[in-house]
């Protein structure tokens, strides 16, 4: 934006959808995604940890009450959905919800603001919303996938897990089909988790960019309703990612 006086619409869109990449081929890094997500994670979780450290069982302050409301919401969801023994699921769900929510919320910043600020210090591309980067969403969902595998093995042991993979749902005689079904089912989990979040946020960001192409005096007309509606999407996507993770981990604890 800063270097070209009047970019065309497609140039503008392309510019806004390009990551700041360092490296070549697969072994490259989206610096903007990494830095933004890590920085926001540091701020939000550092804040929550500082609140948690000072938490009293007496009369809570407003900040503590806010953190408690969030935590109890997550805890209720975990309790309602998850029927296993694990101290990890609650914190995991909270991490997912808070992190995804925070990263999604970057979408509400004016689309040009961040790239303008970064442009002023000589950085050409900077995608402000890390969840519009499939690398991030897949990183999360694959981590969840490994956790699903881990809990499957932990709860059912290696033999039980393998038996389940090869005998459910059609019985031992149809083992290859069972295995195929299970493979598809389990692979669909991380893929759907990652693509759902990525798709929603990418599309939302795209709409903001398109709105930004309108004449300045008209932008509020579409921008404000979309931003307000987007608050819902931001929260909803964070919630869905969290809830599905809990459900998947719960399924890993139960025998079919």
């Amino acid at each position: 934006m800063t270097e070209s006086a009047a970019p065309s619409s497609s140039e503008y869109i392309h510019h806004h959808l390009t990551n700041l990449v360092s490296g070549q081929g697969f072994w490259s890094f989206d610096i903007d995604t990494l830095v933004t997500s890590a920085l926001l994670g540091l701020i939000v979780f550092g804040f929550m940890a500082s609140v948690a450290r000072k938490a009293t069982s007496g009369v809570p302050g407003r900040t503590q009450a806010a953190v408690e409301i969030l935590l109890e919401m997550v805890q209720t969801q975990v309790r309602d959905t998850f029927h296993g023994e694990s101290g990890m699921v609650g914190p995991l769900a909270l991490t997912i919800f808070v992190w995804v929510f925070t990263l999604n919320a970057m979408d509400l910043l004016p689309v040009d603001l961040v790239s303008l600020l970064m442009g002023s210090v000589g950085i050409e591309h900077w995608k402000a919303v890390p969840t519009t980067d499939p690398n991030l969403t897949f990183a999360m969902s694959i981590t969840v996938f490994f956790l699903i595998l881990y809990y499957n093995l932990k709860v059912k042991k290696c033999g039980g897990f393998l038996r389940e993979v090869f005998t459910v749902p059609f019985g031992a005689k149809m083992a290859p089909f069972n295995f195929l079904f299970r493979l598809i089912e389990d692979l669909a989990k991380p893929v759907s988790l990652a693509l759902r979040l990525f798709g929603n946020m990418y599309a939302g960001e795209m709409v903001f960019i398109l709105i930004a192409l309108l004449p300045p005096y008209l932008q509020w007309l579409l921008g404000a309703p979309w931003a307000i509606f987007h608050i819902l999407i931001i929260t909803l996507q964070a919630f869905i990612f969290m809830i599905l993770t809990i459900i998947y981990l719960s399924m890993a604890h139960e025998s079919h």
């Binding site: 890094f29 990494l34 940890a49 609140v51 450290r53 938490a55 609650g90 909270l94 992190w99 999360m140």
Partner: protein
């Protein structure tokens, strides 16, 4: 949509955040919440206990009050009876005393009457003797007729 090594970076960041939440965010808040709900439960229980104690104490005080009332009524009844007995006693004593005084007075009066009658009799006998003396001066000798005169005196 290009997948690259950012994947690993993000996965590491994610893992660190999960670990961080597990260690520093979740446990203290959950502990505080559990502790608070325990405190609230204890408080409610204490309030309930206090309420029951109060009800019991009220019942006890009511009992004590009732007992005191009945005791007071008993004492009053007893004292009334005693007062009545005392009055009765006094009345009886007074009656006895009055009777005694009356009897004494009567006896005195009777004695008085007796004495008056005696003296009167003496006087009448004297008069009769002196009258008879005056009448019979000449023919009756006082010494000769002393027995007769004494008999008359005794009859009077």
């Amino acid at each position: 949509m290009n997948i690259n090594a950012t994947l690993f970076g993000q996965a590491i960041t994610f893992a660190i955040l999960i670990w961080f939440t597990m260690k520093f965010v979740w446990p203290p808040v959950v502990a505080a919440l559990d502790d608070r709900s325990k405190k609230i439960a204890e408080g409610l229980e204490a309030a309930e206990r206090g309420r029951q104690d109060f009800a019991k104490a009220e019942l006890r005080s009511q009992d004590a009050l009732n007992e005191a009332k009945s005791r007071a009524a008993e004492i009053i009844a007893l004292s009334e009876k005693q007062a009545q007995a005392i009055v009765q006693q006094a009345h009886d004593a007074a009656v006895i005393e009055a009777n005694r005084v009356k009897a004494q007075a009567q006896a005195e009066v009777e004695q008085e009457v007796m004495r008056a009658r005696d003296s009167l009799r003496d006087r009448v006998a004297d008069l009769a003797v002196s009258g008879a003396e005056k009448i019979l001066r000449r023919e009756i000798n006082a010494q000769a007729h002393a027995d007769l005169l004494t008999a008359i005196q005794a009859e009077l």
